[in-house]
């Protein structure tokens, strides 16, 4: 379009974009996981690789969702339709409740279902199918039927400009549902391991993938098949003074906050990636809480009834006499996720560092 050239020319004569008030900067620095030799991949490559292996090793496996056929809007399924055919990798009609119900049915027959919900913000039409059906199939049928071979992949979280409906982290809604597994990777290596573990796990799983990591997170990912343990938290940095708990993108903010705390406050923080939201690793958390006596939990989702509430309640029940200060939550505020106010909404490194300083001076 010739016109676009003209528009481009005139626009360039306006303010340089670096001076723009809405210029979006990433709110975190990525801390890669190191696990020996592998191929350099970002998170969407690693997810693609995991699904490729699953489709290759398990001839029953099906992969579907909105726009999955051409590679998905985040490119996670790119080339898989060409490789495995359009009967196994395909677009669904635009209907999340349909995707979820269809996936459950597929899994009822023992076939592996890998279902993509395009954005976590759009998972709610499928809430009934996931909460009332997928989660309860085994229980209500006396184990006659189940849909354990089902995994939902769900891009979630803040990206800098997603506003109300392209930013949410709805893990807590699903954590309130017995029967589901809910996990959140912090990067490519974990994403691949968790996905392959979920595909094989005999329970319906939801993998919330922080979409800001699809491109930003780069690691050397082992190319062979491997799984990451479900229900197991990772201690990423050891320390004796304060325990910092997070998942997904927030892990990287906590790692940076821990570094800043070391430099500025001379304290050693222990950083734990919870990884699994449901069921979750109570042992690793209470062990660390007992060691440090000070715990901060941070997540992007709102404060009230965020998963931090559950962790805080558990810690006060199990570790009360070991605590030096009340458990602190640093989270998104109790508002919808706003567009231009995002820098003020997120539990960024400054808010986390302030919390560390406060919890030490309680």
């Amino acid at each position: 379009m010739l016109f676009s050239k003209v528009a481009e020319y005139y626009l360039k004569r306006l303010l340089p974009t670096t001076l723009l008030t809405n210029n979006v900067r990433s709110h975190f620095t990525y801390y890669p996981t190191v696990s020996g030799p592998g191929k350099t991949m970002n998170m969407f490559n690693a997810i693609n690789n995991a699904m490729d292996l699953a489709l290759q090793n398990d001839e029953s496996a099906l992969l579907f969702g909105e726009d999955v056929g051409f590679g998905g809007v985040f490119r996670c399924s790119v080339n898989l339709r060409d490789k495995y055919g359009k009967d196994r990798v395909f677009n669904s009609p635009l209907c999340e409740q349909g995707i979820a119900g269809f996936a459950i049915g597929v899994a009822n027959t023992g076939t592996t279902a890998i279902a993509e919900i395009q954005f976590a913000d759009y998972i709610f039409p499928s809430f009934d199918q996931i909460v009332n059906e997928a989660a309860k199939y085994r229980y209500r049928s006396g184990d006659l039927f189940n849909c354990g071979s089902l995994t939902f992949r769900v891009p979630c979280g803040a990206v800098g400009h997603g506003a109300l409906y392209h930013s949410q982290s709805p893990e807590a809604y699903f954590a309130h549902t017995p029967g589901l597994r809910v996990v959140v990777p912090r990067g490519p290596i974990k994403a691949k391991g968790l996905l392959l573990a979920c595909f094989r796990d005999p329970n319906p799983c939801i993998v919330f993938e922080p979409k800001t990591l699809y491109r930003a997170a780069v690691e050397d990912v082992p190319t062979e098949y491997y799984t990451s343990e479900l229900g197991k938290a990772d201690v990423l940095r050891e320390g004796n003074d304060v325990t910092l708990i997070g998942w997904g993108t927030q892990v990287h903010i906590l790692l940076e906050a821990a570094e800043l705390a070391k430099e500025t406050l001379k304290v050693d923080c222990e950083v734990i990636d919870l990884v699994s939201i449901l069921p979750w690793d109570t042992n690793t958390i209470s062990k660390s809480a007992k060691k440090t006596g000070r715990v901060i939990i941070a997540h992007e989702a709102p404060l009230t009834q965020g998963f931090g509430s559950e962790i805080a309640a558990y810690i006060q029940e199990q570790c009360f006499l070991h605590l030096e200060a009340p458990v602190k939550r640093v989270t998104g505020w109790d508002t919808p996720f706003p567009h231009v106010f995002e820098p003020f909404y997120l539990p960024d490194k400054h808010r986390c560092l302030t919390a560390i300083s406060n919890i030490l001076n309680f």
């Binding site: 303010l15 723009l20 677009n91 635009l94 231009v340 302030t354």
Partner: protein, 439 residues
């Protein structure tokens, strides 16, 4: 043999039931002999369906039904095929239609580029669908309430949403009517009776139906509701709910499907197998249905006039399907050449372009002036660029507004959270873009 043995007593039971029906419904044939010899004359009276009985077993195949025809007024060259269908709009109205389409098209091109340069965070263009916006909006009254999906900016242009209002929304600055809460293109205007856009698809559909029902219940109602949605969105459960509620509850709503052939990358042939969205109307939901060429502004206009008259007179819904082609990428997050060819797009951008079609009509009428068109586009371009410069310098709303509008009145816990943030910002102001926000 065993089948027969079972069948004989069953037939007896059927006969007894039939005898019973005879006494209840006098109009039914008087003897079971007649009934069995000529079932085709018999009309079933099941609560779930009234239809004739037949004795030939037959699968009703989709191909047994002819597609609903597509109404058009203008051909590709801008000639009116049947003069009786010329809406006889004045030169003034046609010129407004043309100018509004040009304005939308010009603004879209610049705002699209501005996103590419990182000036705004997101944008969605309306290329190829200008006629369905303008034609439908022109046939409505301002009191008619609009629920949009997200690609209906032309309806707002027709209603008088100003360039500064569009661009301030895209920047989410202090003058954005939505107060910086939503992504670009999520417009809304109380004044123009246009309900604020929400990103989740089809959620607006049952809402529009509910609004129409409530409006019907108001004394002397003379306004209807128009709900725009795409053919992809029509696959959502909410779309079914909307169709069914609108029909069963008799709601004066026009369910306007912009069938542009694509839901992001998914082509319509992977979205449904029936006769488009129109095909669902009459047989599927019992709703009066119109299908039009969405690239023909007059076809959309005429059909919308008829639809509006019908929904208000009958207090019943209309399914309206406007067929076009999404010349645009889905949004600035999408490159549609990954799933369709540039050549295919170009056909729809030139031969079947709704703006050039109207232009050709105006040429035949002697109403078109090339110099005037060029000057108009130049003027719009100037205004849009000037407005971008102004809008991007405006401050964003006060950050405290983040906590407003969650509830009608701010509850205590939000007051506390706002205080906490206030204290934090006071201590760490150097880390936050406070200078870009109103104080």
């Amino acid at each position: 043999m065993s089948f027969l043995r079972k069948t004989i007593p069953m037939l007896g039971a059927l006969g007894r039931q039939h005898q019973h029906l005879k006494t209840v419904v006098g109009a039914l044939p008087t003897s079971s002999r007649q009934y069995s010899s000529d079932p085709a004359n018999d009309y079933a009276n099941f609560p779930g369906a009234k239809a004739p009985f037949v004795s030939q077993l037959k699968l009703n195949l989709p191909e047994d039904y002819a597609p609903i025809p597509i109404y058009r007024v203008m051909d590709r060259d801008g000639f009116i095929a049947d003069e009786t269908q010329d809406p006889q709009l004045s030169r003034e109205v046609v010129e407004k239609m043309f100018r509004d389409m040009l304005l939308l098209n010009t603004m879209d091109k610049i705002l699209y580029e501005s996103q590419r340069q990182g000036r705004i965070s997101f944008y969605m263009t309306n290329f190829g669908e200008e006629a369905s916006h303008i034609g439908s909006a022109a046939a409505l009254e301002m009191r008619d309430l609009i629920y949009g999906q997200y690609r209906e900016a032309g309806v707002l242009v027709w209603r008088g949403f100003r360039i500064d209002q569009f661009i301030d929304q895209c920047y989410g600055n202090v003058d954005d009517l939505g107060r910086g809460k939503q992504m670009p293109v999520h417009y809304g205007s109380r004044e123009l009776n246009f309900v604020t856009i929400s990103s989740p698809l089809s959620t607006q559909m049952p809402q529009a139906v509910g609004a129409a029902y409530a409006m019907k219940m108001k004394k002397g109602n003379d306004a209807c509701v128009v709900c725009y949605f795409g053919e992809g969105a029509a696959s959502e459960g909410d779309a079914h709910a909307a169709f069914n509620f609108a029909a069963t509850l008799g709601c004066p709503v026009i369910l306007f499907c912009r069938n542009n052939g694509f839901a992001i990358s998914t082509p319509s042939h992977e979205q449904y197998k029936g006769d488009g969205i129109a095909g669902r109307g009459p047989m599927g939901y019992g709703i009066a249905t119109i299908r039009v060429d969405g690239t023909d502004v007059f076809a959309v206009y005429n059909a919308m006039k008829m639809a509006r008259e019908y929904v208000l007179k009958e207090n019943k819904p209309v399914v309206f399907e406007a067929l076009a082609y999404r010349v645009s990428h889905h949004s600035t997050s999408d490159d549609s050449t990954a799933y369709r060819s540039p050549e295919e797009i170009e056909v729809w951008n030139s031969v079947d372009n709704p703006i050039s079609k109207l232009k050709r009509y105006m040429v035949h009428k002697g109403w078109f002036d090339e110099a005037e068109e060029t000057a108009f586009i130049k003027d719009v371009r100037k205004k849009v660029l000037k407005q971008i410069a102004v809008s991007e310098k405006k401050l964003k709303p006060n950050w405290r507004e983040m906590f407003e509008g969650v509830y009608a009145e701010m509850p205590e816990h939000l007051v506390e959270q706002r205080k906490e943030l206030e204290k934090h910002l006071e201590a760490h102001k150097e880390h936050y873009p406070l200078k870009n926000f109103k104080q």
